[in-house]
């Protein structure tokens, strides 16, 4: 039996695995990366939205672009990626068995990094096995990789970032999202993600769960109901929707079985069954490391940094860099990771109700319960000011680690400051020129430009717009509020696209002066537009 030897074996060519391999390859190691899929990149290539963070985290770059950059970097440094290669066993001696084609091949590494990611959770309800009940990840695969609409009318279960982001993508793909439900009493994901779904007119049903999927051979409808304190559905609260698709976004579980097989010490946490790991990725078995979602569910941005940390640690473990060099690199990466783990959604705040922002401003309860900030709440945030002339209105109301808007403004109108989670502040001293760079830069699509009295009695609202076909100048339609309900009639006065906006188009509509702080979305007369 032939066993091939490598210094470093990586299992999983997603953001964590590739980052680790690149980091190690830069130090002279020749790593080999196995992935069971036919394409590398893990979940990154399904992510068509712009990421949060700061420049060093590739903020405002779309996920699939980050994936392309990662692949290019891997190629540049000679990282060997073997696809359609399923690792079926990992043994404590750091030997792996891999199914490639019709053969099982054996490899042995001096260091093995497990970066196998996570899989989607399911929930059971009557009819959950009917065709038409799918995971949110499956919906993303269909839409964003294969350009297939998962269905016409969809109900989304889950208000975490996955549920919110995928709901928006379903709308972009031209599906109707009839409702977003979550058994939790409050929206779990970023408020800005919720707001962009809500203003498209998707109703949020918090404290609601699925009672039943209806249909004989496939889903034809769904019944949801309100849950009481005992998580059971309160009789009489049931609501029916005609749908052909039920999308589940109810969390992820680490795919950590290989680590368990290898004898790594495991821990059953709220976030799933994970290896007991040091921050640099070292498990309890010498030479076996873990990075990314397999060691605890987080964002792709964190997975990439964790991967780089593991890459540096393995480089040191194998003698390619000194302990001092490793420490210096880890310190640098730790700082980056630390930034991402700040704010209201920091791991330490998981499941907690944060009632005040870091600035001491009350958090919008409407945002948490309905998915949008109420008109009466919006003015208390520092990004929302009243000024003469055109100026940005930044509806960023939660402390999340993200700051591209600050650098986007060429005039210095927007300030976040040193603390990346601070709410953006709009200055009244600097003069906004209405360039719209901030609008396009905001990954949360939470920045608008407003201007009163463009003509007597009428003002303009400029909004980020990621639907196709683009409305035409002169077209008339309906302005929708933050809650997705009709505010007034609106006329499209400008449509701006530019490569630097990266597909976030700037749509300007004319509405009466007293509506410029209410109108936040536009619906053409033909109804919903789609992105593809």
């Amino acid at each position: 039996m032939k066993i091939e030897r490598y210094d470093m074996i990586v299992i999983g060519a997603g953001p964590a695995g590739l980052s680790a391999a690149i980091e190690a390859a830069k130090k002279g190691i020749k790593p080999i990366v196995f992935d069971e899929n036919e394409k590398p990149g893990g979940q990154l290539f399904k992510q068509i939205h712009k990421f949060f963070g700061s420049k060093e985290h590739k903020a405002k770059v779309r996920g699939f672009k980050i994936g392309e950059e990662l692949l290019a970097e891997a190629r540049e440094y000679g990282v060997e990626v073997v696809l359609n290669a399923t690792v079926v066993g990992l043994y404590p001696e750091k030997e792996i068995t891999v199914k490639i084609g019709n053969e099982i091949k054996h490899y042995k590494g001096d260091a093995v990094l497990v970066a196998t990611g996570a899989s989607e959770n399911m929930v059971n309800f009557k009819g959950w096995t009917l065709p038409g009940v799918i995971g949110a990840g499956a919906a993303q695969t269909m839409m964003n990789l294969h350009h297939i609409k998962p269905g016409k009318r969809v109900l989304m279960l889950g208000s975490g970032n996955v549920g919110l982001v995928v709901s928006f993508q379903l709308l972009q793909a031209g599906c109707e999202v009839v409702a977003l439900a979550d058994a939790a009493p409050r929206v779990g994901g970023y408020g800005v993600h919720a707001a962009k779904v809500a203003r498209c007119g998707v109703p949020f049903y918090l404290s609601h769960t699925i009672v039943e999927a209806e249909g004989e051979d496939c889903v034809t409808g769904v019944v949801i109901g309100q849950v009481g304190p005992d998580w059971k559905v309160i009789p009489g609260t049931e609501k029916h929707f005609d749908v052909d698709t039920i999308c589940l976004a109810v969390g992820l579980s680490p795919m950590s079985q290989l680590l368990k097989q290898a004898g790594c010490e495991m821990s059953d946490t709220k976030g799933g069954y994970v290896p007991v790991c040091q921050e640099d990725g070292a498990t309890s078995v010498s030479g076996i490391f873990a990075a990314g979602d397999v060691s605890g569910i987080e964002e792709a941005s964190s997975a990439m940094i964790e991967g780089r940390m593991s890459g540096a640690t393995i480089s040191c473990y194998l003698g390619y860099i000194t302990e001092e060099e490793k420490q210096a690199r880890i310190k640098e990466l730790e700082a980056q990771l630390d930034t991402l783990r700040q704010g209201m959604f920091a791991p330490k705040n998981r499941g907690k109700l944060v009632e005040k922002t870091e600035e001491g401003i009350a958090v919008s309860m409407s945002l948490l319960e309905n998915g949008y900030v109420a008109d009466t709440e919006i003015e208390r945030y520092p990004g929302v000011t009243k000024q003469e002339g055109i100026h940005p209105v930044i509806e960023c109301t939660q402390n999340i680690p993200c700051n591209p808007c600050q650098d986007a403004c060429p005039k210095g109108c927007i300030c976040i400051g040193k603390n990346i989670t601070s709410l953006p502040v709009v200055s009244k001293e600097h003069k906004c020129i209405g360039c719209g760079m901030c609008v396009a830069s905001c990954s949360g699509q939470a920045i608008f430009l407003v201007q009163e009295n463009v003509e007597p009695g009428f003002g303009e609202v400029t909004m980020p717009y990621e639907f196709l076909p683009l409305p035409k100048v002169g077209e008339k339609g309906i302005a929708l509020g933050r809650d997705g309900k009709e505010v007034c009639e609106a006329e499209v006065t400008k449509v701006r696209t530019a490569p630097v906006f990266d597909h976030t188009n700037l749509l300007t509509i004319k509405v009466p002066n007293d509506r410029i702080m209410k109108a936040r979305f536009y619906r053409g007369e033909n109804g919903q537009q789609s992105a593809k």
């Binding site: 399923t86 068995t97 199914k99 053969e103 099982i104 399911m122 059971n124 579980s253 946490t269």
Partner: protein
């Protein structure tokens, strides 16, 4: 090691529930009722349950139902899911044709 007889006394007899007919492990077609009944027959760990009912032994290897099965067992036992002993992990970690598995190591690679 928990005393099985004591625990069985503590959790009381199996009582039929309305949703017992619901499939939980779709690969091996195991229902919620079968899992609940098994607990009352003294099957307290995921390892035993997998051998007894084949739940989590199909195509997806418990990737879909693993967490759900654990939840049902935990509820039946009146413990937290983290207290339910998980199954061991062993190769092959993914479904694999016997033909391929059988040739592993048996054919000389020159």
């Amino acid at each position: 090691m928990m005393d099985i007889q004591e625990k069985l006394k503590e959790i009381g007899p199996y009582v039929e529930a309305e949703d017992d007919g619901m499939l939980v492990c779709r690969c091996e077609e195991v229902t919620k009722g079968e899992i609940r009944k098994a607990v009352h027959e003294g099957i307290f760990t995921i390892e035993e349950l997998r051998r007894y009912l084949r739940s989590g032994m199909g195509l997806c290897q418990g990737q879909t139902c693993g967490k759900l099965v654990k939840g049902i067992v935990a509820r039946e036992l009146g413990v937290a899911p983290s207290e339910v002993e998980p199954a061991s992990s062993r190769a092959p970690m993914r479904p694999i044709e016997m033909e391929i598995l059988a040739e592993d190591g048996g054919v000389a690679h020159e």
